[in-house]
């Protein structure tokens, strides 16, 4: 041991070295003069969620969110509030009318992002969100939440590229699956047009009447409908008169090939879907009562959930989140009608 105060003295040397070093040694020069300087946040960094849309021309129509409400249910502090958009007739539009996130409650946990099956919600890395008020100012509404896919690509290039690739692959897979399915759909449609004198061009690829791109139809329905409308137009029958006829056509489910469920279209209303599934077994009727988003909120897809209920494997009838009370009530009614409840 040395003299008394040696430890103190050594400590002072360390302090002095740090003090002097803090002027030119980069290792010890750690202060960042915010807000003049800012550190670059890492790509993974997260703050609050935002909603992704694809087309700049129409953010609302091209947003990925289908209002399935999975995130609303899973968010641990329950800070998301969603109301599904409906048209005047009350038909669900598969997008939220209201999507609020209370960022004073949000704990930036990213669970909403992880559970969203549609890659619709992602984490921002903007950390400068202070506001003057602490109530309404801290609730973010749909317009503030919507950000473009380009923006997402800009802040998180690696992650966004992977998501884009996945979505593209999914879309291709879907298109491939739809192509062979189109034929049986067309055949099934034939008896549906008794008024049409020339049923041959029903599924003609060169349809004269194009269905608008944003109409809520699956490719096979689109193909059938456009062919059907062309025929109707050619034969001079008013489409309005033909429409109710088109409601009855679905081939009996026993003959319907797997994957050919005309009611499996989120754009149709509940009554319409049930009509389409009128002559079918209970499992199909149950399926028609679902919201048809295949969002997996229930833990299955729409088909799987309906089958599980029909076989008795699933007893909870309130799992379809996007279908809301409408679906739950209808499921109960159908089960009662079938004498299973």
């Amino acid at each position: 041991m040395g003299f008394i105060g040696k430890g103190l003295f050594e400590g002072m040397v360390v302090t002095a070295r740090n003090f002097v070093g803090s002027y030119f040694d980069k290792e010890r020069l750690v202060t960042v003069q915010y807000p003049e300087e800012r550190v670059q946040v890492p790509e993974n960094s997260r703050t609050f969620p935002f909603l992704v849309f694809d087309k700049d021309s129409d953010p609302v129509a091209s947003m990925r969110c289908v209002a399935c409400k999975i995130c609303e249910v899973e968010c641990p502090p329950q800070c998301i509030y969603i109301v599904m958009d409906r048209d005047e007739k009350g038909k669900p539009q598969q997008r939220p009318k209201v999507f609020d996130i209370d960022i004073s409650v949000c704990m930036q946990c990213q669970i909403c992002v992880e559970v969203c099956p549609f890659d619709a919600i992602k984490m921002d890395n903007n950390y400068e969100k202070s506001q003057y008020g602490r109530f309404d100012e801290l609730v973010e509404h749909l317009p503030e939440l919507l950000k473009s896919n380009e923006f997402y690509n800009k802040i998180k290039p690696t992650e966004a590229t992977a998501v884009d690739a996945k979505l593209k692959a999914d879309a291709e897979k879907k298109a491939k699956k739809a192509a062979p399915a189109a034929k049986p759909a067309a055949t099934a449609a034939k008896p549906a047009a008794p008024a049409a004198p020339k049923p041959a061009p029903v599924a003609a690829p060169t349809a004269k009447i194009a269905i608008p791109d944003d109409a809520p139809f699956t490719p096979e329905q689109r193909q059938w409908l456009s062919g059907y409308l062309s025929t109707v137009a050619a034969s001079g029958v008013a489409p309005a008169a033909a429409a109710p006829v088109a409601g009855t056509p679905a081939a009996p489910a026993t003959e319907a090939p797997a994957g050919n469920w005309p009611w499996h279209d989120p754009g149709l209303g509940m009554q319409r879907r049930l009509d389409l599934a009128k002559e079918t077994p209970i499992a199909d009727k149950l399926m028609a009562a679902m919201a048809q988003t295949d969002c997996h909120a229930c833990g299955y897809d729409c088909r799987g959930y309906a089958d599980a209920i029909a076989t008795g494997a699933e007893t909870d009838l309130s799992l379809c989140l996007p279908g809301e009370a409408e679906t739950a009530n209808m499921l109960k009614k159908l089960m009662q009608e079938a004498g299973k409840l």
Partner: protein, 388 residues
């Protein structure tokens, strides 16, 4: 004679029959709003002059209903809440909870994930111990110097956390059956860099503190916790080991891959504040050893067990207790799952801070009130965990 402010009778101090002036004990409430109580925590001290006669810790100011909240939420939902228990060490909290759930559900964790968890936990130990020492010296009156040096190093680790998990402190990184994102080579290089640099910082830190006469005078033979008392009171972590209790869950349970890693468990012999300081320095050195081995051995492979579902995750009825050696001591989660199994029927946290704090009075009685603050600093508490 003391002149009173009122016009009552003058107050005189008269010696009693034994010739000693009779005085009263004084009750002083330290906290809940006091910088040295490390948060909203109150100590009801009874003082005789400057010496402590009795001391009662008063907790509950930061109670957030953590356990009840968890019982109303899906299993995954409480993972981000565990970050907020001991907000210094969110990684180890995540691990303890994930471990309990994995035990209960019988999930096997892939090797790479186990190594990633070890790396994250040891980094957490580094940042916790260095900051705790900093805080303790802050309470001693060293102002910011050691604390800010510790914070400077901690920042490097937090930067790595942010790059990996997305957040500096509220990591929410572990998932049942693994971790949320894989470590990239870049992340591993950063971790290696931290592991090689840290010893240099520790040397400097020790030069500043270990032989410092002021520190020695204020901490040696202060707040002694005898070995028997430590065992009887269920103390764990560095506090127990400073009193000479050879108990480290990494050695006892060998959870994760700790069985494959080589390290020693430092033990103190007196159990005073100085021992508790020095134990932490030694533990950091061991942590660096573990880190280097883990970074060397980390295998390739999946970072999460593929069969674990994120949503609709259900656990068959049963109960389980998962525990790990957190930087502060034994952190355990006791979980009960019942019919349905969508959320815990009972969710209990065994927080090391809380249990280590119960012994505060025994360590403080007889010391000066200024020492109470130092002793509290050496216990290493975080109120988020004490009150939950």
């Amino acid at each position: 004679m003391i002149q009173p402010l009122t016009d009552a009778k003058p107050y005189t101090l008269t010696p009693g029959s034994n010739g000693v002036i009779e005085t009263q004990t004084l009750e002083v409430s330290i906290g809940p709003q006091h910088p040295s109580t490390h948060g909203v925590f109150r100590m009801d001290c009874v003082l005789d002059g400057e010496s402590v006669v009795a001391l009662k810790p008063v907790m509950g100011y930061l109670h957030r209903n953590h356990e009840q909240l968890a019982e109303r939420m899906a299993w995954l939902g409480s993972m981000p809440y565990t970050d907020r228990l001991d907000y210094f060490n969110s990684m180890t909290n995540n691990w303890a909870y994930a471990l309990a759930v994995e035990k209960l559900a019988g999930i096997k964790v892939p090797d790479r994930a186990e190594y990633i968890r070890v790396i994250m936990a040891e980094l957490t130990r580094l940042l916790n111990h260095s900051c705790v020492i900093g805080f303790m010296l802050q309470d001693l009156g060293a102002w910011g110097t050691p604390l800010l040096y510790a914070f400077r190093e901690r920042e490097r680790i937090l930067d790595l956390y942010e790059a990996v998990s997305g957040s500096r402190m509220m990591c929410n990184y572990m998932r049942f059956g693994g971790v949320r994102v894989n470590l990239t080579d870049e992340n591993l290089a950063t971790a290696k860099d931290i592991a090689t640099r840290f010893p240099r910082f520790l040397d400097e830190f020790e030069k500043l503190l270990t032989n410092n006469e002021v520190l020695l005078a204020r901490t040696q033979r202060v707040g002694v916790l005898p070995k028997e008392l430590a065992i009887n009171a269920g103390i764990s972590g560095p506090m127990a080991r400073a009193s000479g209790v050879d108990y480290d869950l990494r050695k006892v349970d060998k959870y994760g891959v700790y069985g494959r890693l080589e390290f020693r468990v430092p033990l103190g012999d007196i159990g005073d504040v100085y021992d508790r300081y020095y134990i932490r320095v030694l533990e950091m050195r061991e942590s660096i050893k573990i880190l280097q081995q883990a970074l060397r051995d980390i295998p390739q492979g999946p970072h999460i067990a593929p069969e674990v579902k994120l949503r609709n995750f259900k656990i068959p009825p049963g109960d389980g207790y998962g525990r790990i050696e957190g930087p502060k001591g034994e952190l355990g989660f006791y979980l009960v799952s019942d019919e349905g199994g969508k959320q815990p029927y009972r969710y209990h946290v065994r927080p090391p801070s809380f249990i280590n704090l119960t012994i505060l009075e025994d360590m403080c009685v007889g010391h000066k009130v200024a020492d109470v603050v130092v002793i509290l600093g050496s216990v290493d508490i975080v109120l988020g965990e004490v009150d939950r």
